[in-house]
């Protein structure tokens, strides 16, 4: 039997694939796709993951729906425990959190991200929201999954960030090891077009979404990138995964991360 799914659902499934079983995983706030992906992973291939929920810091909750804000009590439903803010941040910076999702309005080839400002601080062209806990947590959490839903604009994957909020593999002050950072840095970057990895600390194209060509990715990317010898399309999600995405997020909060044209991208299996 064939089934259909949207780009938003495919994107969430691809993010969920980066979660490993029995790891400690966290996403922070303002990231509904990452929220849905963590719950999808926990209900499928990563049942033993320790999931820290958004800005509630609730451990392993099973919310009935994902609200449009990450600090709402509805996200704490059924939680095994509510961490204090201090517990979640201490756990992150001492190196006991395995995996964090992180986004950026700008992302450079080394996975440094900018969520602070477009243009020069102070008095920038656009003041963005800000980095939350990222500039410490990105130094110490073991693995980072970066994501953006804004790759096609050509303004996101850039040669140089206007401002470095969160640390990738190489900053103007040196590499992660030169800076003495214990976290491993960005491992994967998932965009609405493609998936990159960082084998030598620099973004390499690894997978393409089914309706995207290498030319599309090159046109949208502001830096040179290597292409994996085994470049492949992303795996097709199962019907079960798609149904779970819809059940976890009945308000479709995940779709708010995408522009209207991207939401028209649908696939049939």
């Amino acid at each position: 039997m064939s089934y259909r799914f949207g780009l938003d659902e495919l994107f969430v499934v691809e993010l969920a694939r980066t979660v490993r079983d029995a790891e400690v995983v966290f996403h922070g706030f303002g990231s509904p796709c990452a929220t849905v992906a963590m719950h999808l992973a926990k209900r499928t291939h990563a049942p033993h993951a320790l999931l820290i929920e958004g800005a509630t810091y609730a451990v392993n909750p099973s919310p009935a729906f994902i609200p449009p804000t990450s600090n709402d009590h509805s996200l704490k439903r059924g939680a095994a425990y509510s961490m204090r803010f201090e517990e979640a941040f201490d756990m992150s910076v001492r190196g006991d959190v395995d995996h964090m999702f992180l986004s950026g309005l700008q992302i450079d080839p080394y996975g440094n991200t900018n969520v602070t400002a477009v243009g020069r601080m102070p008095a920038p062209k656009v003041k963005l929201g800000g980095g939350g806990g990222g500039c410490n947590m990105s130094a110490t959490i073991r693995r980072l999954t970066l994501w953006t839903t804004n790759h096609r604009s050509g303004r996101c994957l850039v040669e140089r960030c206007d401002f470095i909020t969160d640390i990738g593999h190489l900053t103007p002050e040196g590499t992660r090891s030169e800076l003495g950072y214990t976290g491993g840095g960005p491992e994967v970057l998932v965009t609405e077009l493609a998936v990159f990895d960082y084998p030598d600390g620099r973004a390499r194209l690894r997978k393409l979404f089914p309706d995207v060509t290498l030319g599309d990715v090159t046109a949208a990317t502001g830096f040179e990138f290597a292409v994996a010898a085994d470049l492949a399309p992303v795996d097709t999600p199962s019907r079960h995964q798609i149904e779970l995405v819809r059940a976890i997020d009945p308000l479709s909060v995940r779709r708010r991360e995408f522009g209207p044209a991207e939401l028209e991208r649908t696939f049939r299996q």
Binding site: F29, G30, S31, A55, T56, Y57, A64, F65, P67, P68, T69, S70, N71, D72, H73, S74, K76, R77, R84, F85, E86, F89, S92, V93, R94, T116, A117, M121, P122, A123, P124, K125, K127, L128, G129, G130, G131, G132, G133, G134, C135, N136, M137, S138, A139, T140, I164, T165, I167, T171, E173, G174, L179, G180, Y181, P250, L251, V253, R256, E257
Partner: protein
């Protein structure tokens, strides 16, 4: 970090607000869409108390309204905005881009560390990250320090001791004992690191009732407490009420222009007191926000 031992801290909102001096460093309690000290923020704007240095972790309308009123000189928050839902904070953004407000962006974990330094009476503490980011360049008060044992070089941060922490709680007593629900965000740390807490509560109750619910901030940290029903609106204050997503959308739409933001302030802040504010929002609407408990379905429908 003085203690506050007066037996009765109950004050009206105007008296509580007047304890915040112009030019103060003000810690804002709660975070994002939850338990923002909105009645106090509106009170500050009505009283024309400005030149504030605000600190906090991830915030939204509290900072945005103060920015719209021109009341902030330095904003040392880790994030100001409405997440993916309503996006950037229009008035904060405008003030930062014009340079009328200094966006001295910080990090949740750095702020936590600085508050702990203040709580412990230390002149600095190290943080794990920040090195290699451009956040460091926004903070000439940071330094570097080598660990005497390993030689590892850390970014060193000074203590952060706000003049006043503004906290909204669902319940508290006349002595100033406050109960809040998790997540406490930084409110416990603010309460100790700041010179005083100025609080509002949805309901003043007996000390026994606060104790049964659990005292999170003890009376001796609190200098004044005022009763302000729905004092966190349009943010949430569980177990009382959910956040008013539609009202936030109204603000974000109106605040796209400076004139729109001024119109909102006249209508919802300077033109009314808190009783008038609640009448403008409407008893039916406020009652609706308390209805989240009826069922999971009703809760979800609030956010559709």
């Amino acid at each position: 970090m003085a203690v506050h031992l007066a037996p009765d801290k109950l004050a009206d909102l105007e008296t509580a607000v007047a304890m915040v001096r112009p030019g103060s460093m003000v810690a804002l309690g709660g975070g994002l869409s939850a338990r923002l000290p909105m009645a106090l923020v509106r009170g500050l704007i009505r009283a024309g108390i400005g030149d504030l240095h605000v600190v906090g972790s991830a915030h939204s309308l509290d900072v945005d309204l103060l920015a719209a009123a021109g009341a902030i000189s330095v904003c040392e928050e880790s994030y100001v905005g409405y997440e993916q839902d309503h996006g950037l904070a229009p008035a904060f953004r405008r003030a930062a881009e014009e340079g009328s407000l200094e966006a001295r962006e910080s990090c949740c974990d750095t702020i936590l560390t600085q508050l702990r330094a203040a709580e412990m009476g230390l002149s600095f503490l190290p943080v794990h990250g920040v090195k290699g980011t451009d956040i460091e360049g926004l903070h000439p008060e940071y330094s570097r320090v080598a660990c005497p044992f390993t030689g590892h070089e850390y970014v060193a941060v000074p203590p952060l001791a706000p003049d006043v922490a503004l906290v909204h709680a669902p319940i508290g007593d006349r002595a100033g004992n406050l109960h809040i629900e998790q997540p406490y965000v930084l409110d416990e740390r603010f309460a100790v690191a700041s010179t005083m807490v100025v609080a509002t509560v949805d309901r003043i109750v007996s000390t026994d009732e606060v104790a049964r619910a659990g005292i999170v901030i003890p009376y001796y940290r609190v200098a004044a407490v005022a009763e302000a029903p729905f004092g966190a609106h349009p943010s949430s204050c569980y177990p009382g009420y959910a956040y008013d997503r539609d009202h936030l959308a109204t603000w974000v739409a109106e605040a796209r222009t400076a004139e729109g933001a001024e119109g909102y302030l006249r209508r919802y802040v300077t033109g009314v007191d808190e009783d008038g504010y609640r009448r403008l929002i409407g008893a039916d609407r406020l009652e609706h926000l308390t209805g989240y408990r009826d069922s999971g379905g009703a809760w979800m429908e609030m956010f559709r």
